[in-house]
């Protein structure tokens, strides 16, 4: 079952409806039970694991005040959980690439991925309590709800306890919440089904079934992959936020038009915001604070360590290492040249220059993503070599269009052009669409337009019909 299946749609509709009708005091118990059913539905072992960890963290938090040893112990257990689940996934499936791309394939290891996010929340919780920035939660039910709130369970956003638990008591669902939540949910579905899923096969065909493609093909595939990942993940986030809003909760947004960043540092402030905030707050700041006397070195070491941890969290493999190294280099360079770059950008400040910066940053990110997406380090190197040595394809049609269109017929070309057209148009009008969605009025044109586009162009059966041994 995928997220977008009749069963799930029915499930969501009923949950939202019932929740709306319930008096506010009982809502959190209802959503809590729904969350437990949701996790347990896929895999009863995951449910047990989740409950065990929840209980462990809840009771530990009450004891760690002023007890450093217990605090470290708690951190270690949760960190171990992350490593264990990541390792478990890469051995059972041999997959290297990120959970974010397969977050829709509800399978037992996906709930284990959810446990990665979930463990990070627990670490945040313990740290906040230990640093006395927060009081340990007294109601077990509220803490469990925070952990198992199903819109955010699988892939975040990572919420700090204080941000979420305070909303449990003041749960209010107005008509505006329902409208905005629904329109947001629709946006997420659109991004996922019409944009991300249409881009996926072309990306797969170059990265997974590569032959001797030219550099241009690799480059275009890298571009498309970055865009695909953006649509996939931000679409998922929209859906999570939309569902949460319809249940009366406001979750943190994860994306702030990251592809319009004019520097890599800015990119990391706009991409996967909740996760990066977690890394910034719990790894970067503590490290750099302790080293703050070493003015120039401190940020570099901070960046190094933060990305090292981020790399381990994403997955274990040389490709992730290379990806992390790319970003470490980019960020260190930016940190060291900060003054010069600010002066430069102040002098060259018109929109053409801005587009140039955006283009450069986009290329840097896409380059690092070649490592992120490739199935092995050798594949990645091979692909990068083609960019250097064999850039122009011999035959423009067979070398560039056909692989990305996954086929050499007119119909494949047609589909590819539609995909690219839709993606480009969407990226250009993203802000305006975002404004429509977040306004609290029902926009009939938007709703009809998106549903139409989803039905006419959306991908309803990703992957199940793809047969390599075709013919």
């Amino acid at each position: 079952m995928t997220f977008i299946s009749p069963l799930f749609i029915l499930f969501i509709t009923i949950v939202i409806f019932v929740n709306y009708l319930l008096p506010p005091r009982f809502r959190y118990v209802f959503i809590l039970s729904v969350g437990l059913v949701f996790v347990g539905f896929f895999n009863i072992e995951s449910l047990i694991a989740v409950l065990l960890f929840t209980l462990f963290n809840f009771y530990l938090a009450k004891l760690i005040l002023n007890n450093r040893a217990l605090f470290i112990f708690g951190l270690a257990v949760n960190a171990l959980a992350i490593i264990l689940f990541n390792y478990f996934n890469s051995t059972t499936n041999g997959l290297h690439f990120s959970f974010t791309l397969i977050s829709f394939q509800i399978d037992k290891f996906i709930v284990a991925f959810g446990l990665s996010f979930y463990s990070m929340q627990n670490i945040a919780y313990l740290t906040e309590v230990y640093s006395k920035r927060m009081i340990a939660e007294t109601k077990l039910a509220k803490y469990v709800l925070y952990s198992v709130f199903f819109p955010k369970f699988i892939s975040g956003p990572v919420m700090l306890p204080v941000e979420f638990i305070s909303q449990i008591d003041n749960n209010v669902i107005t008509n505006n919440n329902l409208i905005r939540g629904f329109q947001l949910l629709l946006l997420g579905v659109f991004k996922k089904m019409v944009l991300a899923d249409r881009l996926a096969p072309g990306v797969c065909s170059v990265f997974d079934y590569h032959s001797n493609y030219s550099g241009l093909t690799t480059l275009v595939a890298a571009y498309l992959f970055t865009i695909q990942m953006y649509f996939d993940f931000s679409g998922y986030t929209n859906m999570a936020l939309g569902m949460a809003e319809m249940l009366g909760f406001k979750l943190k947004d994860n994306f702030n038009f990251p592809l319009r960043s004019t520097s890599v540092s800015e990119f990391w402030r706009r991409w996967h915001i909740s996760l990066i905030s977690w890394f910034t707050k719990y790894i970067y700041y503590p490290v750099v604070f302790r080293l703050r006397d070493y003015k120039k070195i401190a940020p570099l070491i901070g960046i190094l360590l933060t990305f090292f941890v981020s790399m381990i969290w994403h997955g274990i493999g040389f490709t992730f290492l290379a990806w992390a190294v790319c970003h470490i280099i980019y960020l260190c360079f930016e940190s060291l040249t900060r003054k010069a770059r600010t002066e430069f950008s102040e002098r060259f400040n018109n929109s053409l220059c801005k587009m140039l910066y955006i283009f450069i940053v986009f290329n840097l990110v896409c380059f690092s993503n070649i490592f992120f997406r490739a199935n092995s380090f050798d594949t990645a190197l091979h692909l990068i070599k083609t960019i250097g040595c064999n850039f122009i394809p011999d035959n423009f049609y067979n070398g560039l269009i056909a692989p990305i269109a996954v086929g050499g017929h007119q119909i494949d070309e047609f589909n590819l052009y539609i995909t690219i057209l839709l993606s480009v148009l969407f990226l250009l009008f993203e802000r305006r669409i975002g404004n429509i969605v977040s306004s609290e009025r029902i926009n009939i044109k938007y709703i009809i337009g998106s549903v139409l586009l989803i039905m006419i162009f959306g991908v309803f059966n990703s992957g199940t019909r793809f047969i390599y041994m075709q013919f």
Binding site: I411, F414, F460, N461, I467, Y468, M469, Q470, F471
Partner: protein
């Protein structure tokens, strides 16, 4: 209240739009003469020999060539990556509108019995869901799709990637009053002239070889197809074109599968002709992939097939 009306309006507008779109796609897909299942319902082809199967016969066997050798009119009903259920429905619709041919040459290999090869292309039959035969086949072969079908337009939305282009082309054919497909006698010449690394990729995926898995649903529809043909008085032949010898070492249970196919042929009292001793099987020069011959190899194979058919026709006319 205003919101409530807005929601109601949106909902009804969407229903109406989708209902209209469904009818439009229906119409367009029935008018696209490049779509075989639409074409065979409109045009009286009335061939005497039918070539049928997935992409191998589609790309290998030219009816024009065959006609010259056999002296009879032939038509290539084959379609890319179609499994037996797909083939069955195409034969069913062909027979609805055309005289039953004298002979049916149907391509069967171990690959066709395995779910990893070919597929049931539901989207081809979406416009014909009101037909009970089509309905029952789809229900059995693509239940995922079937459960959505009652929602307006869903039958086309579900596989829209395969359909949008065809629908537009269908409208174009309608407005241009086009009656003949691009490939008039059904045959599509192979678009690749030389080897496409198929075997290398195969070995990469299955370094220890690939064991075919016999699928019962496939067998069921193979039998249904043979029965349908026999019911219409058609003489059925099963055949297999040359397989690149180099690939055989990676298919350890090929013989086992072939024997099971032979058993089915025996059960129905029909011939399963394997062209497994042709010289072209030894060299990649004649192949695009392990099963598909290229233009050069196809010509040679079609000559052999034609000779075989001619001999069979001779036997039929002068039984001794």
């Amino acid at each position: 209240m205003k919101n409530f009306y807005k929601i109601l309006i949106s909902f009804f507008l969407l229903l109406v739009l989708f209902y209209g779109l469904e009818k439009l796609y229906d119409f367009a897909l029935r008018h696209n003469c490049n779509i075989k299942i639409a074409y065979i319902q409109k045009e009286k082809i009335n061939a005497e020999i039918l070539i049928h199967g997935p992409c191998e016969p589609l790309w290998m066997i030219s009816p024009e060539k065959l006609d010259r050798i056999t002296g009879l009119k032939s038509y290539n009903l084959a379609l890319t990556h179609s499994d037996f259920a797909d083939n069955y429905l195409h034969l069913y619709y062909y027979l609805k509108n055309n005289n039953a041919p004298k002979y049916l040459f149907f391509y069967v290999t171990p690959e066709s019995m395995d779910l990893n090869y070919n597929t049931f292309n539901t989207y081809r039959f979406a416009p014909y869901l009101d037909n009970p035969t089509v309905d029952s086949v789809i229900k059995e072969c693509d239940s995922n799709f079937y459960k959505w079908v009652r929602i307006p337009f869903m039958r086309y939305a579900f596989y829209n990637k395969n359909i949008n282009f065809d629908a537009i082309q269908g409208m174009k054919h309608y407005f241009n009053n086009r009656k003949k497909p691009y490939y008039v006698n059904g045959y599509e010449p192979p678009f690749q002239v030389k080897w496409d690394n198929h075997l290398e990729n195969f070995i990469q995926l299955y370094p220890h070889g690939y064991r075919f898995e016999w699928n019962n649903l496939r067998e069921k529809y193979l039998c249904k197809l043979i029965e349908l043909a026999k019911q219409n008085g058609i003489k059925v032949y099963l055949f297999e074109s040359p397989v690149l010898k180099e690939a055989l070492q990676y298919q350890p249970n090929r013989e086992v599968m072939v024997n099971r196919i032979k058993a089915i042929a025996t059960k129905y009292g029909i011939v399963f002709k394997q062209f497994d001793n042709m010289k072209i099987a030894e060299s990649r020069e004649y192949f695009m992939s392990t099963l598909n011959t290229n233009l050069k190899g196809s010509r040679i194979f079609t000559d052999s097939l034609g000779a075989f058919i001619k001999a069979e026709i001779g036997k039929a006319n002068h039984p001794e």
